[in-house]
Subunit: 145 residues, 2 copies
DNA sequence: AGCGAATCGTTCGGTCGACCAACGATCATG
DNA sequence: CATGATCGTTGGTCGACCGAACGATTCGCT
C-alpha cells in the first residue's frame, strides 16, 4: 500500500524538516517563500503564492512575519497600486542559507539507509509523480512578472 | 532536493486520499483505527493509539465519532476498569471496505504515470526508509492485549 | 469613455493532523 | 498501604491548507 508508505515516510520526513526549521525559528512557509524569491526574483504576493503553492490568505501572514524579521521587503508597486512587490534582503538571503543547511541535514538523516543509486532512483520516481500531478493540476509555467 | 520532492508528492497524495475519504464522510484517523482494529483485533484505546500512531487524546474523539456511527463498539473491560475495549462492528467492516476501495482508487490515480516495475521500486525504497526510521524511533512491536 | 469582470491584498473562519498538560479513576508494585 | 504508573478524558496550541467575503484597483470590451 504505497499511499500508506508515502504518508508515513512523509510524516517522518516532515518531522525532520520541521524540527530543523524550528531550530532556527522558522517554519515551512518561510523557507518556501524565501526560496521562491531567490529562484524567481521579486514578485507580488499573489504571484509568489502561485509559484510556491501557498494560499493568498496565508501569504499575507507569512510576508508579515518575514518582513517583521527584515528577511523580506514590502514595497508598493508604482505600476499597479493593488500590488506589493516583495523582495529578498541580505538578511533574508543569509536566513535562506541557514534553512538550506538545515534542510540538507534533514535530508541526510532521512536518506541515511539508502545508497547513492537508490537516492537517485527515489528522486527520479518522485520527480516523475510530481511532474505528472503538477501538470494535471495546471501549474502554468510561471514566468509572469 | 528529495525533501521538497517527498513533501510535494506527499501533498498531492494526501489531497487525493483525503478527498477520497471525505467523499464517504470519513477522515484519515477513521481509516487508521478501523484498519488497525481489523489487523490486530479488539483493544483498549491506548493500545490502539500505540499501534496506529495516533495520540491518546485524539483517539478519544476518533472513537467517539466511530462509535456514533456504529462502526465500532466501546465496552468496559471487566478485567481492568480503566479500560474500554474497542471492537469492530459489521458496519465498521463494511465501512473499512469502502475506505479501502477509495484508497485503492487514490493509489491508482497517484501512481498513474509509473510502470509496474517503477511502482515496485518506489514502494521498496519507501519501505526501506520507513523501516529504518521506525526502527530508530523505537519499535513497540505491539502484540499486547 | 465607460462599465462590468477580473485581480490583489486582507481579514475572518474552518478543517485536519499532530502534540502537550492536567486530572480523576484505577491498577500494580514496592 | 503508599507511591508511581496507566487509562480515558478535557481542553488547548500549532502548522498547513482551504474557502468566503470585501474594498480597492486595474483590465477588457464595446
Amino acid at each position: 500500500m504505497p499511499s500508506w508508505l508515502l504518508g508515513q515516510t512523509a510524516q517522518h520526513a516532515g518531522r525532520l524538516v520541521v524540527d530543523g526549521f524550528s531550530s532556527v525559528g522558522a517554519r515551512g512557509y518561510h523557507y518556501r517563500v524565501l526560496a521562491t524569491l531567490e529562484d524567481f526574483g521579486p514578485a507580488s504576493q499573489a504571484t509568489l503564492g502561485r509559484r510556491s503553492g501557498i494560499h493568498l490568505s496565508d501569504m499575507v501572514a507569512t510576508v508579515n512575519e518575514l518582513a517583521e524579521l527584515a528577511f523580506v521587503e514590502r514595497a508598493a508597486d508604482p505600476a499597479d497600486r493593488r500590488r506589493n512587490v516583495i523582495s529578498l534582503t541580505k538578511a533574508g538571503k543569509r536566513q535562506l542559507r541557514r534553512l538550506e543547511n538545515r534542510l540538507a541535514a534533514s535530508q541526510d538523516e532521512l536518506l541515511a539507509p539508502l545508497s547513492p543509486e537508490e537516492r537517485a532512483s527515489l528522486t527520479g520516481l518522485l520527480a516523475t509523480l510530481l511532474d505528472h500531478h503538477n501538470r494535471r493540476a495546471g501549474i502554468p509555467e510561471e514566468r509572469w512578472r
